[in-house]
C-alpha cells in the first residue's frame, strides 16, 4: 500500500490546493476538409469536429468520476485553418469559422483553437485572408480562438506580418468594443509556436502531429505555492536552491496526474496520447496565482528587482520536474504570466510595481510571453507591432516560444479598470512607456533574418 503520508499529501493537493487538469485538448486535423465551395468546406469541418470530438465530454466526465480529479476545460485544437482559405473571401472565411463555432458548441467545448496561420517566412493569400478576417471572425464567434506564428529561430521574423497584426489587433478590439475589446484576448501572435500546445488561445494541431491526438494541460500554481509556503514556514532560512528542489518535486507530481488522465482519455477515445503540458496557468481566484508563488519565494512586490530571477527559477524547476515525470512532456511547460488572469499579477500592474517593460523582461525566462495585458484604446498600431517585434526577437534569439496577447481596450485610458469575468479575469489598463517612436522602424517592413543560432546543421 502507498504510504499514508503520500496519500494524504496527494489528497491535500486535490482538495485544498486546486490541483486539477486544466484542459484536455483534442487535436483534430482538418486539412482534408477543403471543398469546392465555402459552404461545403464549412460543413466538412463541422462534421469532422463532431465526429472526432463528439465523445470528448462524456469521456472526460467518466475519467473525472473515476479519479476524482477535475477536468476543468475540454477543448479542440484544429490544424491551421488557413489551409482551407485559399481563394476565399472574408465572408466565406467567416462562414467556415461560424461552422467551427457551432460544432464546438455541439460537442460541448468552450474554446476551439486553430483558426491559425504560420507565416514566419511569408504569407500565402489564404493566410493573409485569415489574418484580415480576424476582426469579423473573433467578433462574430464565441468559441473560436486564433494564433498567428510570425517568427521562428529557423526563419527569422516576418515584419510585414507584425505590421499587419498591429492594425488587426486594434480592429479586433474595436469590433468587440461592447466586450471591452475582449476579442483580442482570443488572438495570440507567436514566435516558435509549439505544435502540441493544449492551452488556449494558442492551441493548434501543428505540422508533424497525428491526425487526431489528445494533449493535456495541467496547472497547479496553488499546489506549488503551498509547497513553497510549507518549506519556508518550516525553514525561513531555506536557500533558493532548496525552493527550486521543492518546486521540482511538486511539478513531478502534478505532471504525473496529467499524463495519467491524458492516457485514459486518449485510450477511451481510441486516439493517440500526445503530450502533457505542465504550465503554471493561473486563474483569477486567490490561491491559484503564479504571482503568489513569487511572493511566497520572497518577492514582496511583484516587479521589484529579483522578480525576473524568481520567474527563471520557477520556470526551470517546473520543466525539470516535468521532464523527470514523463517522457511525453511538451507544449509550453513552464510558468505563464497572464496578467488579467492572475490576481497577484493584476494587482501588481494596478499598483504600478509591475510595468510593461518588466513583464517583457520576465518573458525572456517564462514559458510564453506578454499575456492578457490591457492597453489604452488610442495606442498606435505601430506601437503594438513594436511590442510584437520585441517579443518575437526574445523568442527567436533565445530559441524559445514567446507570444503576445494584448487587448487594446476601446476608449480605455491608463488606469481604467476592466473586468472580463470568469477565467479571463480583469485588470487595469497599463501604460506603454514611450508609446511613439517605433513607426519608422516598423514601416521598413520585410523580414528580420534568422539569427546565427539557426545555423545548427
Amino acid at each position: 500500500m502507498i504510504g499514508k503520508a503520500d496519500i494524504l499529501a496527494t489528497m491535500r493537493m486535490l482538495q485544498e490546493e486546486n490541483l486539477d487538469v486544466r484542459t484536455v485538448t483534442l487535436g483534430v486535423n482538418i486539412s482534408g476538409c477543403k471543398r469546392d465551395g465555402a459552404a461545403d468546406t464549412a460543413k466538412a469541418v463541422a462534421d469532422r469536429i463532431r465526429m472526432k470530438a463528439g465523445g470528448l465530454l462524456r469521456v472526460c466526465d467518466a475519467v473525472t468520476a473515476r479519479y476524482g480529479l477535475r477536468v476543468v476545460n475540454r477543448r479542440v485544437a484544429l490544424s491551421p485553418a488557413a489551409a482551407l482559405l485559399e481563394d476565399r473571401t472574408v465572408e466565406e472565411a467567416v462562414e467556415i469559422a461560424l461552422a467551427m463555432d457551432r460544432a464546438a458548441a455541439d460537442v460541448g467545448v468552450d474554446l476551439i483553437g486553430g483558426y491559425s496561420a504560420l507565416v514566419q517566412k511569408g504569407m500565402t493569400p489564404g493566410e493573409r485572408l485569415l489574418i484580415e478576417s480576424l476582426p469579423a471572425v473573433l467578433s462574430r464567434t464565441e468559441r473560436v480562438c486564433s494564433s498567428v506564428n510570425i517568427a521562428t529561430t529557423r526563419a527569422g521574423i516576418n515584419v510585414d506580418a507584425a505590421a499587419l497584426l498591429g492594425r488587426i489587433i486594434l480592429q479586433v478590439a474595436e469590433a468587440t468594443r461592447d466586450r471591452h475589446g475582449f476579442g483580442a484576448g482570443k488572438l495570440v501572435v507567436f514566435a516558435n509556436i509549439p505544435e502540441d500546445n493544449p492551452f488556449m488561445a494558442g492551441a493548434l494541431l501543428g505540422p508533424g502531429e497525428p491526425d487526431c491526438v489528445v494533449n493535456v494541460g495541467v496547472s497547479g500554481p496553488g499546489v506549488v505555492k503551498r509547497a513553497v509556503d510549507r518549506l519556508v514556514q518550516a525553514d525561513p532560512d531555506c536557500t533558493l536552491d532548496e525552493i527550486a528542489e521543492e518546486v521540482k518535486h511538486t511539478a513531478f507530481r502534478v505532471t504525473r496526474t496529467g499524463e495519467l488522465i491524458g492516457r485514459e482519455v486518449a485510450a477511451a477515445l481510441g486516439v493517440p496520447f500526445g503530450v502533457v503540458d505542465l504550465s503554471l496557468a493561473p486563474t483569477p481566484r486567490p490561491g491559484d496565482s503564479v504571482g503568489e508563488i513569487y511572493q511566497a519565494m520572497g518577492i514582496r512586490k511583484l516587479g521589484a528587482p529579483g522578480t525576473t530571477a524568481a520567474v527563471a527559477l520557477l520556470n526551470d524547476a517546473v520543466k525539470k520536474g516535468g521532464a523527470f515525470a514523463s517522457s511525453s512532456v511538451g507544449g509550453l511547460s513552464g510558468a505563464f504570466i497572464p496578467v488579467t488572469e492572475d490576481c497577484a499579477l493584476s494587482e501588481a500592474v494596478s499598483s504600478g510595481t509591475l510595468t510593461m517593460e518588466k513583464l517583457e523582461a520576465m518573458t525572456a525566462v517564462c514559458s510564453v510571453g506578454l499575456d492578457m495585458i490591457l492597453l489604452p484604446g488610442d495606442i498606435e498600431p505601430e506601437t503594438i507591432s513594436g511590442i510584437i517585434l520585441d517579443e518575437m526577437a526574445i523568442g527567436v534569439i533565445n530559441r524559445k516560444t514567446t507570444g503576445v496577447r494584448v487587448i487594446p481596450v476601446p476608449g480605455g485610458k491608463v488606469g481604467d479598470k476592466v473586468d472580463f469575468g470568469g477565467l479571463f479575469g480583469g485588470g487595469t489598463v497599463t501604460n506603454v512607456n514611450c508609446p511613439t517612436g517605433s513607426a519608422d522602424f516598423i514601416r521598413h517592413g520585410g523580414h528580420i533574418p534568422a539569427p546565427i543560432q539557426s545555423l545548427t546543421n
Binding site: M1, I2, G3, K4, D6, I7, L8, A9, T10, M11, M13, L14, Q15, A65, R66, Y67, G68, L69, P210, D211, C212, V213, R253, R256, T257, E259, L260, R263, E264, A266, A267, G270, V271, P272, F273, S326, S327
Partner: protein, 198 residues
Amino acid sequence: MEQSSSRFVVSVLVADRVGILRDITSAIADLDGNIDAISQTVVENYFTVILTATWKKPVPAATVQEALTARFGRDAAAVAVRPYAPGKAASRSRRTRYVVILTGPGKLGLLKAVTSFLAERGINIEDWFVEKGAAGFTHIGLVSIPDALDIKHVQDEIRQTAAELEMTCALQHENIFRATNEVGPIKSLLRHGEAGRG
C-alpha cells in the same frame, strides 16, 4: 482432533518490543518450517503478524502453536495456528482498487456504518488504517470495487453516509496516488493498451 498439515497460517498478537519477529521466525525455522508470506503491523504499541509457512512433511498444529507460545509466555501472546486452506477470491468479478479517506471527529459506529456500506455493495477491504490526531480521526482504506458498480454513484453515497456521521469522505482511484508517488512509467498503471500513433 489433532490437526496436521504441511502448510499453516499463523497469527501472533503481542505487546510490541524489539525481537518479536526474530522469535517467531526462529520458532518456525527450528521446526524446519519455511515462511512463504508475511505481513506485520504495530497498532498503539501492540504488534500483530500474519504469516503462512510450509513444511516438507505434515506437522501437528499444536506443535507449531506450542513452539510459538513458548517464545512469549502463555498469557503474554495470542497465537493462532490453522491449516492453510486455499481461499476463495472475494469475487470473480473484475475489480479496481480505490482509496477511501475519512476524516472527522470519529463518532461511535462510524466504522460499522462504513464497512457495512462497503460490504453491502460487494466492495472488498484490502487494507485499513486509522490514526487519531489533534484534528480528529483519519481513516485510510484500500478497497477493491467491482467494475460493474457506477463509481460516481458509490462516491456520492459513501460521502452521504460519512456526512451523516460528521465525517468527510473521499473515494479516489488508486492510480492517482500511485501516479503522484511512484516513479515508474504511467503506462504501467493502466490496464488497457494505448492506441497507436496515427
